[in-house]
Symmetry: C3
Subunit: 151 residues, 3 copies
């Protein structure tokens, strides 16, 4: 590879890590415009298991608004152990693990979940975007919320 190609590869890996960080952070802060912008505009493949399967980003945002976008829901989406592979100048794959925690003040539950993402990214005019993402749950624990100290 040339210097230019090697630099571009490193820049792409960093851009994709930042894309996923932006997405996960936006999920926690309920910034649906940013969440939406992390996906390609056209057809996407989003497979979040029990949460739903969607062939366009708008489907995901609709379900998020229904299930997660409430004041009584407080989430942590923390991306772990990223493995990004640049396939060519327009395509990359990513494997991530996720640590997820949800406080639900209405149901009075604390849910903690582990799993992994298998992603495909596409380079667009706006930069790298998520083209395909599949999340697989490996563990889930739900308990009653501790009686005090919740914020």
């Amino acid at each position: 590879m040339t210097i230019e190609e090697r630099l571009h590869q490193l820049e792409s890996i960093e851009a994709i890590k930042q894309l996923k960080a932006r997405y996960l952070s936006a999920c926690d802060r309920k910034q649906t415009d940013i969440m939406r912008d992390c996906f390609v505009e056209t057809e996407a493949h989003i497979d979040y298991g029990n949460v739903g399967q969607f062939n366009h980003r708008d489907g995901l945002i609709d379900v998020f608004n229904e299930l997660g976008n409430h004041e009584y829901i407080i989430d942590m989406h923390h991306g772990q152990n990223p493995q990004i592979q640049i396939i060519d100048s327009n395509t990359a794959t990513g494997n991530w693990q996720l640590y997820f925690q949800q406080i639900n003040k209405k149901e009075n539950t604390l849910t903690q979940l582990g799993g992994f993402y298998d992603d495909i990214y596409t380079y667009t005019q706006e930069g790298w975007r998520i083209k395909s993402t599949r999340f697989t749950v490996t563990s889930q624990l739900t308990t009653a919320l501790p009686a005090k100290g919740t914020d």
Copy 2:
């Protein structure tokens, strides 16, 4: 951007990630000299909410010595989802999420906390340093420490 500028940008992003990793790791290991060295020497802006606001790194170290630097306190500060932006050769911004856990063997409590950092970094003669940092808590859970298995 030239090759040189692009390389410098990637090096700066890596250096800043490592700066924050060094800071968070030093908090866990109670290495106050390293914690202190992660900030600029001169005036800084440190806003840790209920923990305190400081305009110099020495103020933060004083409070850490008072509240956290004890054998009965065992902390985890884990930085998540970094989003680093290089503004110019001397200035960068960073957004991070944090997973924090504190075992307090004196109070017999387990505290778990989520939140995010909004940081500004400055390039100094010693390398990148934290110039400004604001931490916002998004969730906090406190329970009694489990009766057995604590280490």
Copy 3:
């Protein structure tokens, strides 16, 4: 440093982060071939404290098969706060923190553990590999598994 050397350094840091991500992810997915491949072929130094000390990767895999490679064990190994230093073109060091969680459905326990890795990496014909790794536990909590919601 030349442009070539600077690029190589950034590529090495990314490759080492990805090596550790691959290792930790393989531990969670019980992919022992991948775990094994993350270490040098020849003599290694693996010091995992109470789990054991090994001078070859095969010793670690044997213990993993005995203690962890069961359907009733569900692990999370999440690497945190990486600090990678490239010493020369064949040698690097790494410090990581770890968030570890283990669900044991046979013993009905939930274990959560924090600690840090001190690693040495060697560049081989197959790329960067772990030559030496020492894990130090900083905290451990064990409780009974919540009665419901386990998956």
